[in-house]
């Protein structure tokens, strides 16, 4: 099908989000590829994969070797290979669930190899009865499964640079991933220990070589926090906290403490290094915001994007991800003319609380330069800010919790550059 002018939803060739659906299924073009047939048999006309037996079974499958280049990009501190981050290649993936092996990583001193039989979680501090939980014990508790994104507070921080960095969607925004997590509601363990009414926070601590520790407000622990034991159906990966991590849906990635070994109920925050010297944001008046615990509403177009150039004028699908630490995505708008006009994208459901949501919009690209933007709004009315407005909130050089509108410049020849809008 070809879209007609009746389908236009905004400037630059953006079509109504139901255009593709109205046109029905794509016409088949594959039928003619292997038309030749031998007179006495069909073998000669068949592809080799139909004429020789295939590979045997495997105990744990791996991606197609044809796509073996889909990998996390690693940025480690020189001489400290366990310190730094690796990013999810967002532009090479579709849907909303990140494969566990491509979930972004942020480690502060490497990945510990924890013996699950020896590991325990201790709950103490302002409780009636301090308790120790083994993994085997937790595996007998009632569990809950849910999708949730985890996003590093430093994600997209490169966008504060004066000039736009020429890199991929994953390179810029790949410190966000989304999984189905399964685990034990934290409130169950807190009730079992009996929380003293004076406690309003707890300290969560990991068993890694950084002893990662963060203070968490108790309301969050009682709301939707869990001790996650499974990720996408399998035991949580070492990079994500095996044998257990704290999951705080929508909160700064750093607070979702991996390799969780201890929860201490406290009167107030403990003011750990990672909630004072880091993950705080200086404002122009010299004061710093601390405990900016929740990630803002945000979106990014993953296709087309840097590295995925246009292949001539014609009909394309704009595809991207949106999320909010406050809840569900309500709408995503897309502009192809740098923000002069906007069209509402289709949300590819289910639209879930504090999880990645895929948005899509058909686009008839006619070969002209085009500045592509996306702008997400969540169910509470929070809207992604413009980059200039985001920057104005803070002192120079501050880069945490960057959630401003991102842009791709599509050039006349079909090349795509990262741009600011």
């Amino acid at each position: 099908m070809t879209a007609s002018d009746d389908d236009l939803a905004a400037g630059g060739g953006l079509l109504h989000r139901r255009t593709l659906l109205r046109g029905g299924v794509l016409a088949g073009g594959l039928g003619a590829a292997f038309a030749a047939r031998a007179a006495d048999g069909i073998g000669e006309g068949s592809p080799e994969t139909m004429r020789v037996p295939g590979a045997p079974f495997s105990g744990y499958g791996v991606p197609a070797h044809w796509r073996g280049d889909i990998k996390r990009s690693i940025g480690a501190v020189p001489d400290r290979p366990g310190t730094g981050a690796s990013r999810t290649p967002l532009e090479r993936l579709e849907g909303t669930i990140t494969p566990a092996g491509l979930h972004y990583e942020r480690h502060h001193n490497g990945i510990p190899d924890i013996d699950p039989a020896a590991h325990t979680l201790i709950v103490h501090g302002l409780v009636k009865q301090p308790l120790v939980f083994s993994l085997d014990a937790l595996l007998r508790y009632p569990m809950h499964s849910r999708a949730a994104f985890v996003e590093c507070a430093g994600n997209s921080g490169g966008m504060i640079a004066p000039q736009p960095a020429q890199t991929t969607a994953g390179g810029l925004h790949g410190l966000v991933s989304c999984s189905e997590w399964t685990g034990v509601p934290l409130s169950l363990l807190l009730d079992e220990a009996g929380v003293d009414p004076r406690a309003t926070w707890l300290l969560a601590e990991g068993g890694d070589a950084a002893g990662m520790s963060r203070s968490v407000p108790l309301w969050k622990c009682r709301d939707d926090a869990m001790i996650a034991l499974y990720q996408n159906g399998e035991p949580i990966r070492p990079e994500q906290g095996f044998p257990m991590r704290l999951l705080l849906p929508g909160f700064q990635g750093n607070m979702n403490v991996k390799w969780l070994r201890r929860l201490k109920l406290t009167v107030g925050p403990t003011f750990t290094k990672d909630e004072t010297s880091r993950y705080t944001e200086l404002m122009p008046d010299g004061k710093a915001r601390e405990f900016m615990v929740e990630m803002g509403v945000k979106s990014v177009i993953t296709r087309p994007s840097f590295g995925l150039n246009m292949q001539g004028p014609g009909l394309y699908e704009i595809s991207g991800l949106a999320w909010s630490g406050a809840g569900k995505i309500a709408k995503v708008e897309v502009s192809a003319d740098g923000g002069k006009s906007w069209a509402q994208a289709a949300l590819n459901g289910p639209v879930q609380d504090k999880a990645l949501t895929r948005f899509r919009l058909p686009w008839r690209w006619q070969g002209a330069p085009s500045l592509l933007l996306s702008r997400a709004t969540d169910e509470h009315g929070n809207v992604q800010p413009k980059r200039a407005d985001w920057l104005a909130q803070y002192a120079p050089g501050q880069a945490y919790q960057f959630n401003a509108i991102a842009a791709w410049q599509v050039e006349a020849g079909g090349g795509i550059k990262h741009a600011y809008a």
Partner: protein
């Protein structure tokens, strides 16, 4: 017919399975002994209540720093390949704010907690409690936050007032659901 089946199924569920919004706990937590708790309770809040016995002086700390920290953080905590630790006091409102331990961190207890649990990066938790008191005293002394003859211990360390002690504004309440109890 389908209605009947559904009704029968509901009855079975009601009879045998607790399908509840708040699941029941099997109660498998084992009481922790005071020794177990003490062994893991390494976090140090601003009141210093969990600081260990021992002490350390600025002079001792200078030696500890040179042997364990300088390779990554540079002499006196400046100019190394990793984080700058000292200087920058008073720059937070300037066009180029410099965040260091002395210019930015609100509590000396945080320095003690972090150095003791996570430093040096190549051998975390290898310093003695006294060494950590000493190295904190040294770092603070570089910018005069602690005097050159300071000796820090569980009593004196929480009393140190960091220059940026009042420089933070908590944003946490903005995210609190209106229905959530504190």
């Amino acid at each position: 017919m389908p209605t009947l089946k559904l009704a029968a199924l509901s009855l079975i569920l009601m009879a045998g399975v607790a399908v509840a919004a708040t699941p029941q706990s099997p109660g498998l937590g084992r009481p922790a002994t005071p020794t177990e708790v003490q062994a893991v309770d390494i976090s140090v809040p601003p009141d210093g209540s969990t600081l260990p016995p021992g002490s350390g002086s600025v002079a001792q700390g200078a030696a500890v720093f040179e042997a364990n920290c300088q390779m990554c953080h540079g002499p006196a905590g400046v100019g190394g390949p990793n984080d700058r630790l000292t200087g920058g006091v008073g720059t937070l409102t300037s066009p180029k704010p410099i965040k260091t331990v002395n210019s930015f961190w609100p509590y000396a207890t945080t320095v003690y907690d972090y150095v003791r649990r996570a430093m040096p990066l190549v051998a975390p938790q290898s310093l003695s409690n006294n060494d950590v008191y000493a190295v904190v005293a040294y770092l603070l002394s570089v910018d005069g936050v602690a005097p050159k003859d300071a000796v820090l211990d569980a009593k004196t360390l929480p009393l140190v007032k960091m220059p940026n002690r009042d420089g933070f504004v908590s944003w946490e309440a903005r995210y609190r659901p209106k229905t959530a109890a504190r």
